[in-house]
């Protein structure tokens, strides 16, 4: 009985490590964007300038790791990536820790992205939505942002399965 309870507890803990992000491609980025400028705005007041700055750092670092060059000023072959954070809710880590299994304290992240080429023509569009339901000590919202960063790289490289 005791062993069964322990096993159930361990499985619950492992299963509750849930941070995910989903990519919805509205218009595939063709050709893939390998050199971009990145601008991020927000349509929600729930994200502070500090959080926006941290998000920009996280996205830039991830895109660079995935082979996409983020440059300060556009050149002849540079695509412009304009992102809008539509929903940014970090949820409650304490609620997730204790009651995450019933969906309490859930964190959410919704964003939309437009890619234009050097001539200003739109060459791609996508939405990235993410959520966090639990994890160690209630899970971390940064996990969602990391997943969202990976999805953005997938969108820009036209590799949605990435």
């Amino acid at each position: 009985m005791c062993r069964k309870s322990l096993a159930v507890l361990c499985l619950s803990l492992a299963a509750s490590a849930c941070a995910s992000a989903t990519l919805h491609v509205v218009q595939p980025v063709i050709p893939p964007a390998r050199e971009v400028t990145l601008a991020i705005g927000s349509s929600t007041p729930s994200i502070s300038s500090e959080q926006l700055s941290a998000l920009r750092t996280q996205l830039t670092s991830r895109l660079e790791s995935d082979g996409i060059s983020v440059v300060p000023a556009p050149g002849a072959n540079t695509c412009r990536v304009q992102g809008t954070i539509d929903h940014y809710d970090r949820g409650s880590r304490a609620l997730r820790y204790f009651f995450g299994f019933v969906g309490a304290g859930k964190g959410t992240f919704d964003s939309s992205w437009h890619v234009t080429d050097a001539d200003g023509k739109e060459i791609g569009q996508c939405r990235i939505d993410g959520g966090l339901w639990g994890g160690a000590f209630g899970g971390s919202y940064e996990g969602v942002l990391d997943e969202a960063s990976k999805r953005l790289a997938g969108c820009l490289l036209n590799e949605p399965a990435r």
């Binding site: 750092t57 830039t60 670092s61 983020v70 300060p72 940064e142």
Partner: protein, 143 residues
């Protein structure tokens, strides 16, 4: 206390001793395994921007690798003449593996790791800061 007075070594006592030894030996296992500091690589575009740790005022020129104490929150400022300064925030996480390992040491490990900061992972490990050029300032009006 002599061994004779401690009584015979029963399976129950053996198990308790092993659990106690595990809890003590495993204490602060994250601290022991990967130390209290983590090396983070910083680079800027364009190269050569200054990176300032806002709390201590310590500065580095990018690209650079900096050994940072895992326990602290970091807010840094990247700056360069002619470019808009950019704030950099590092995240601090407790990976599930360390959390579980510390739980198995009956909480002793968590106390040690929380004190030293050993179970935190700072991120991202490679930080790329892109600085936006400032718009050219208008020429000063002639007197």
């Amino acid at each position: 206390m002599s061994l004779e007075r401690a009584g015979p070594l029963t399976p129950r006592r053996t198990a308790l001793s092993l659990v106690g030894a595990w809890a003590l030996l495993g204490s602060g296992c994250a601290t022991l395994a990967h130390g209290t500091h983590q090396t983070i690589h910083f680079e800027s575009k364009p190269e050569g921007a200054m990176l300032t740790e806002t709390t201590t005022g310590q500065t580095w020129r990018m690209p650079t690798e900096v050994s940072l104490w895992r326990r602290r929150h970091y807010r840094l400022l990247a700056s360069m003449d002619g470019y808009r300064p950019e704030e950099v925030y590092l995240t601090r996480e407790i990976p599930f593996g360390w959390w579980l390992a510390d739980a198995l040491t009956l909480g002793l490990g968590a106390i040690v790791d929380a004190t030293t900061g050993g179970f935190y992972e700072l991120g991202p490990e490679r930080v790329v800061v892109v600085l936006e050029p400032l718009p050219p300032s208008p020429p000063a009006a002639a007197p």
